[in-house]
């Protein structure tokens, strides 16, 4: 058990995966000597060689397309997309090939590809470096989409994603890369809970707040603040967006009667829309207020000098909770 950052925890998880299975390959831009722009792959090329930790040419579609071919040959490619805004050139390969090939082959050819994407805002970056595109992938059948919120989950979930025979889009909350937490590197992933289930990270009774990735910390802080005003929030870390663990959320909502969903992505057709629609259907008679959503606006991610006004924060979460409680 050691205290480490999320970035280092993912690095440790990747190292374990490379050690466990020699079919595991890392591919991406600048992941070799540089160790990636966030140093998540630091030292891995040195230790596992250039044939397993591959600096790819500057072409995302090429990276995903070659990953598909490698998967057909029995490899387990782990692809790094340098920033959220640069995954789109690979969208065709992801949506038309990675996501559909297993079904097309009637199960003969799995696509055990992990697509790591540092995502979200809050780091004062220039355009295209702060986006939250998870809804595009979650809407796509054949893909799994997960996002860890803390170092331990990051360490375990990245290994589980790589071990999974389905393609997994692994969204890393880049502004939490430097958050610290306890990580037990001896933990065996087989014994860990499935990455595709949500977790109640703070039990509460007044209302349920569902979130994932970078927003979990924000919502926990909001819960602490709310507690002072006597509002006892239950915070759920969804962890997985596809599949979406509605059972855990529904059970909570049946107890609390209220739900607020929080994410950085635009609210319009964001993950909150699906969760709201399903929970309302499942818990129609338990809901004392409509499911409220807190998220990005229907605008491009703004210049960094105003990103704090775009990103959901403690106050906006509490504001939504207040509105939910007011029903």
């Amino acid at each position: 058990m050691a205290v480490t950052t999320m970035a280092k925890a993912i690095n440790a998880g990747l190292r374990k995966a490379l050690e466990r299975d020699n079919k595991v390959l890392l591919m991406g831009q600048d992941i070799g000597k540089l160790g990636g722009v966030f140093r998540v792959t630091d030292g891995l090329q040195k230790d596992f060689g250039e044939t397993r930790v591959i600096d790819s040419p500057l072409a995302e579609s090429g990276i995903l397309g070659t990953a598909v071919g490698l998967a057909m040959r029995g490899y387990r490619p782990v692809v790094e997309i340098q920033f959220d805004g640069f995954v789109y050139p690979a969208f065709d390969q992801i949506v038309s090939q990675v996501a559909k090939h297993h079904a097309r082959s009637s199960g003969r050819t799995p696509m055990p590809i992990t697509i790591r994407i540092p995502y979200g805002g809050g780091i004062g970056a220039v355009e295209h470096h702060s986006e939250s595109p998870e809804a595009y992938f979650a809407h796509t059948a054949g893909l799994r989409v997960v996002s860890p919120s803390n170092p331990l989950d990051a360490f375990v979930m990245v290994q589980q994603a790589i071990a999974c025979d389905d393609p997994v889009v692994f969204f890393e909350p880049k502004r939490r890369y430097w958050d610290k937490g306890d990580v037990d590197e001896s933990l065996v992933i087989a014994s860990a809970p499935t990455p595709f289930a949500a977790r109640i990270v703070r039990p509460g009774t007044s209302a349920t707040v569902a979130c994932y990735g970078p927003m979990v910390r924000t919502c926990l802080e909001a819960a602490t603040a709310a507690a002072e005003d006597g509002t006892d929030l239950e915070v759920i870390d969804l962890r997985s967006i596809s599949p979406l663990d509605t059972a855990t959320v529904a059970a909570s909502v049946r107890r609390t009667g209220r739900l607020v969903v929080v994410h950085e992505a635009s609210v319009f057709l964001g993950v909150g829309a699906e969760l709201a629609a399903r929970i309302t259907e499942e818990c129609f008679y338990s809901l004392e207020a409509p499911v409220l959503r807190v998220g990005g606006y229907h605008t491009p991610y703004p210049p960094s000098r105003v990103e704090e006004d775009y990103l959901p924060d403690l106050d906006r979460v509490l504001d939504a909770v207040d509105r939910a409680m007011a029903y």
Binding site: S61, G65, G74, Q97, D166
Partner: protein
Amino acid sequence: MTADGGPELIQLLTPEGERVHHPDYDIDLTPDELRGLYRDLVLVRRVDAEATALQRQGELGLWAQLLGQEAAQVGSGRALHPDDFAFPTYREHGVAWTRDVDPLQLLGLFRGVTNGGWDPHEHNFALYTIVIGDQCLHAVGYAMGIQRDGADAAVIAYFGDGATSQGDVNESFVFAAVYNVPVVFFCQNNQWAISEPLERQTRIPLYKRADGFGFPGVRVDGNDVLAVLAVTRAALAYARDGQGPMLIEAFTYRMGAHTTSDDPSRYRVAADLEAWKLKDPIERVKVYLARSGLADSAYFASVEEEAEALAVRLRDGCRSMPDPAPASMFDHVYAEQHPLVDAERTTFETYHASFAQGGVH
């Protein structure tokens, strides 16, 4: 661009069936092998004709004809070793034939009973790829795998003239060259991308595209099965030998419509077709075999009979092909358990059961 392929065109058998020689490429085949190629060409053309007929009869939703491209496909397909792996588009029925994929499995896709069909690993022949260009990157990735496995094998990626405009195809050239992987890029330049002539995709011969990426490119007479076989064998050997990628432009012509839903009369003149008829890939082999006494009318008749029998088998097999079970659409969306798909399948089955039990509707 010269309509006849120009002087750079590699040819070993002229349209008149005359065996010619080339300084860089030659081939020495046994009579059996030569007759075998003829048989392949005839049977493959028959598969194509039969499938086209089945589409007209409503048995298939669509068919992409290979008419005119038999030599390019059979020649390149027969150049492959068993361990080599081929990545086709949606028109490589002739290559499928050389990989022992039952033509009925091709029909299944165009009939709409599956989006795939055969076992790629059993035949070392990938599933058809409909999105133009995507498979070229898969081919390079597969070749990266071969390279890592240290296997004595190569990959061949099929694509068309129109596909050369796609970013993915050009990226596949970049990756293949930089990684120096064992892949042969086989471009069937059939002069058309649906209604668009070659001029809409390039202003220089396509085999020259390779110059821009630093690997060899050659243009072969795509209607000359011997030349295609010789050139592809050489390219595959070059690749297996660790020398990296090579681009082959098979200069040919799409004698049929793009697919059975296409109407070429809207965009091209009959004259071209007539000119290319004279370069038929099968006729020249037949003339050569006959003239050189390698095959007699009895042999030709036997192949015709075999083709007829094959046609009958396809017709019956296609008509009796069962539709998939509706719920099968949920079967392989994921390799591992996925609650949403499970839930939707249950809803789906309960809903359909309600009809069976004479439900409300």
